[in-house]
């Protein structure tokens, strides 16, 4: 396998422009002869399907939900970045590019990130034209706010529901095409296999979740926009059904998996309340603008927070990072919270939380100002925890939130399997080792609206594909594989439920491949995960049948993939002995416990190639060359 990033030649600012010119176009009359499959209908998938259908391609869109509008993009709260410079505070495409690549700890591909920053403005225009109700000023123009530590106000937002509004915009664009008959929508379908015929991705095999039928769909190209793999940890802010099956099956068919160990842990989530916990809820990062984070100075101090006087409190973020204080970036804040809990200074019943206290802000700004800024968040917190954050400090703890890693793609968003394109969180491309707030929505829509419609045309015209339909042997074989695997899961009839296994896997990953990692722990994970996987295949109990709605079977099939993916995460984390972004290796830190990057040895993308069952995957390196920017150390002290 050879990784060719296909980054165009020329100066950074002109790469995309000249590449667009050089790419081949498809004659409008010929477009409808090309069939493209899009799996996933979140921001990236829905926007891609809509944009391609508008151009005239014949699109088939797949979602495992009952409706495309349910994709988890809908839960994004904060906002979407763009370099409009409406605030006149010195923003520019270059600055957005620089902030993004620096925020990613210099582990992303320069040309991709620049292009992302370049098309970001068009996204805002497009969304406004679609009727996305972004926040506005009284003059009728768009409002911006600052976000995620950026020094400019470049974030467009729609209250705390930006993701919802953007997704509905893309969903409506998609449904318009469905109504026009240019997109065929397949809901309640889960992709189980990628079909590669004559060396190119030519279709998928999926399961109709309602009837259980295994179906084949053929096309000229396949696009995966199926999101990240954070649910491998069991507890995460992802929706329950988010899964990695599509990208994992693509990996097993030859698509390289890049930087699997780059996972983002978000610092402000509502902590786990007990064994029954099924998922975690994020509290917007914006709370840290006014809330102060602290734990008691003494370990084992279990007094109620109101009885702990100021001099016995440790406002540790303010102490360790005097200049950024409570606004330190996500990876740094999360790690610090973990350190405090590990020292035995955690709070709450579980001792697995830290306080986020609004006492001083309430004194300074008054109750009504705080309500105006955070009312809905306070309400949500109270609904879940039954505690009033106006009176008692919030308890927060980090939780798995986003995965920067994903399938490796070149500049055209094509994976190492010809014809297989990957968009959004499912690919690895733009966020390096750490994603900045309000960048995920930007990337999903950039990929879908403004990049894939061009690059897919170029692929389709130059690929010279033979005619392949679902009668091809590759489809038969893939269907067979999918069916066999489902039947195997059903036939174990063991004694433990899927959730029990998943929870256990999650604990291993959280412990050893979570917020901070070390050699011994990762090696332990590489022993324990396969062991648990063995047990899973010996002892899992999946009730019901193949040919009917069977949510347990769906879960089991997803968890089976997490075992393999979890192992790859550990393997990748083990080999990367530097600390960077969300990946903190305890062996690689400064004397004051800060992450120490190693650009000499690790300025590359680690892309893993599947080598077969029970064989070790092979790592390929795409070295990251920075033509324009200087690598620098991130410091927030």
């Amino acid at each position: 396998m050879k990784l060719n990033s296909k980054v165009p030649k020329g100066p950074l600012e002109q790469k995309w422009e000249s590449h667009k010119f050089q790419m081949k176009l498809v004659n409008p009359a010929n477009k409808r002869k090309y069939k493209v499959i899009v799996v996933g209908t979140g921001l990236a998938g829905a926007s891609a399907a809509a944009a391609m259908a508008e151009l005239g391609f014949e699109v088939k869109a797949f979602t495992y939900h009952d409706s495309p509008r349910r994709a988890h993009s809908i839960a994004a709260q904060g906002g979407i970045n763009a370099a409009k410079n409406y605030a006149n505070d010195g923003d520019s495409v270059y600055r957005l590019f620089y902030d993004t690549i620096k925020g990613g700890d210099f582990r992303a591909r320069e040309a991709n990130v620049y292009r992302l920053a370049e098309v970001a403005n068009a996204i805002i225009d497009q969304c406004v034209a679609q009727g996305v109700p972004f926040a506005r000023e009284y003059g009728g123009l768009l409002d911006n706010r600052s976000f995620g530590g950026a020094q400019v106000s470049r974030t467009f937002y729609a209250r705390g529901q930006t993701g919802q509004q953007l997704l509905l915009g893309a969903y409506q664009a998609l449904m318009r095409q469905v109504g026009l008959g240019t997109v065929e929508l397949y809901n309640r379908r889960e992709m189980l296999e990628l079909v590669v015929a004559d060396g190119a991705a030519r279709g998928i095999v999926c399961r109709n979740l309602m009837t259980g039928a295994i179906e084949s769909h053929a096309a000229d190209a396949v696009i995966l926009a199926t999101g990240g793999y954070g649910n491998a940890f069991y507890l995460s802010t992802n929706a329950k059904a988010c899964n990695a099956t599509a990208i994992w099956k693509a990996y097993k068919k030859g698509a390289a998996f890049a930087n699997p160990c780059f996972t983002q842990i978000h610092p402000t989530c509502i902590p786990v309340s007990g064994e029954h916990q099924s998922k975690l809820t994020l509290m917007s990062e914006s709370l840290r603008n006014d809330g102060r984070v602290w734990v008691p100075k003494k370990a084992g101090d279990h007094r109620p927070p109101s009885q702990i006087p100021d001099e016995e409190r440790d406002y540790y973020l303010e102490r360790v990072y005097p200049s950024y204080g409570n606004l330190a970036p996500r990876d740094v804040s999360s790690r610090q919270a973990k350190f405090r809990v590990d020292e035995g200074r955690g709070v709450g019943e579980s001792r697995m939380a830290v306080y986020l206290d609004f006492r001083d802000a309430l004194k300074r700004l008054g109750h009504s100002k705080i309500t105006e800024r955070y009312g809905n968040l306070f309400q949500m917190y109270e609904k879940i925890t039954d505690e009033n954050p106006y009176e008692v400090p919030m308890r927060i703890y980090p939780a798995v939130h986003y995965t920067m890693g994903g399938l490796w793609v070149d500049y055209n968003l094509m994976s190492t399997v010809p014809g297989l394109h990957v968009l959004g969180e499912a690919n690895f491309s733009d966020h390096g080792a750490n994603r900045l707030g309000a960048s995920a929505l930007m990337q999903g829509l950039a990929d879908g609206y403004f990049i894939i419609p061009y690059t897919i045309a170029d692929y389709l015209t130059s690929a010279k594909l033979p005619k392949v339909d679902t009668k091809h042997d590759a489809f038969r074989a893939a269907e067979n594989d999918a069916r066999m695997r489902m039947q195997k899961l059903l036939s174990v009839k063991g004694g433990r439920t899927v959730d029990e296994f998943h929870r256990e896997l999650g604990l291993i990953l959280w412990e050893y491949v979570g917020m901070s990692r070390n050699d011994a722990g990762l090696r332990k994970a590489l022993v324990e995960i396969p062991k648990l996987r063995e047990e899973f295949w010996q002892d899992v109990r999946v009730p019901g049948e193949l040919n009917f709605l069977n949510p347990e079977l769906e879960k089991a099939s997803r968890v089976a993939d997490y075992f393999e993916l979890g192992e790859l995460m550990a393997r990748d984390a083990l080999h990367r002995t530097e600390s960077c972004g969300g990946h903190f290796r305890e062996e690689s830190q400064t004397p004051d416990n800060e992450a120490k990057r190693d650009d000499e040895r690790f300025a590359y993308v680690a892309a893993w190639e599947y080598k077969g069952e029970s064989k070790e995957p092979e790592m390929h390196k795409e070295s990251l060359e920075f033509e324009r920017i200087q690598l620098a150390t991130r410091s927030y002290k």
Partner: protein, 254 residues
């Protein structure tokens, strides 16, 4: 509001095998349910017990579990999404209930929402209403600068209120007529309130209402049950706006 740490409940849950099957209520004892659990987490616990006993777990729709995806769809004691206003089933916590209570749990019923299995229904009719006209006909790349058209903040805020619909279908389930007018009215309002969407508002309202009728949702008798059941607080004002736009569009259509 229960102050206890754990409670015991009796659940009468609707069980139905396939859309053609005949359904029935099945009784389950929910023992030692932590009051910190969400309603769906209680169902997780019950399902784990059922699986361990070799039974068929209760199928129910759910996904984000933070009240935004619109997937969860349980009718609890006759109330879609349970007893609390502006709360989706996934955000409903067990401390809301008293020890020893009996809860009847059913799917979101309507003829246009056929039951697929147990508590899972097919809500794709709502998607088809959107596909008929719930969009702005603007193809990618056609947009002018985002600040090209100023939008009064009030209009934008009202549009947002309407746009916060999560498409769960609680309005249909709560309505004695199984009407989808709150859902449709919310989308009609959202887009008509913005200059970008106002251009095609006549065509939109005609098409969406026609599709709504074709899906065999009922009509409105203004009881307001939909508004009370809506987890996002969508108001009847949106329906009134749809009604008058529909009249205007019908009168002026050619």
């Amino acid at each position: 509001m229960s102050k206890a740490k754990t409670i015991n409940l009796t659940l009468k849950v609707w069980r139905q095998n396939g859309s053609s099957g005949i359904g029935h209520f099945e009784t389950h004892q929910a023992k030692d349910i932590s009051t910190d659990m969400s309603f769906l987490e209680m169902f997780d616990v019950i399902n784990q017990q059922i699986i361990k006993l070799g039974g068929d777990p209760i199928a129910f729709d759910h996904d984000c579990r933070e009240g935004i995806c619109g997937m969860c769809s349980m009718t609890i004691n006759g109330n879609p999404h349970g007893p609390d206003r502006e709360t989706a089933t996934c955000q409903l916590h067990m401390r809301r209930f008293e020890d020893g209570e009996t809860l009847v749990v059913e799917p979101f019923r309507a003829r246009a929402f056929p039951v697929q299995k147990d508590l899972v229904v097919d809500r794709s009719g709502l998607d088809r209403i959107i596909a008929a006209g719930g969009f702005v006909s603007v193809s990618t790349g056609n947009a002018r600068d985002a600040n090209g058209i100023p939008v009064p903040k009030l209009d934008s805020d009202l549009a947002f209120d309407a746009a916060s619909c999560i498409g769960c279908g609680a309005c249909v389930a709560a309505c004695k007529n199984a009407s989808a007018m709150l859902f449709t009215g919310a989308k009609v309002s959202h887009l008509a309130l913005l200059p970008q969407g106002a251009v095609e508002k006549d065509r939109r309202v005609l098409k969406m209402v026609a599709q709504m009728d074709k899906e065999q949702f009922g009509s409105c008798s203004n009881t307001g049950a939909c508004e009370a059941a809506c987890p996002k607080g969508i108001t009847l004002e949106n329906m009134a706006r749809m009604n008058r736009q529909y009249l205007a569009a019908s009168v002026t259509s050619r």
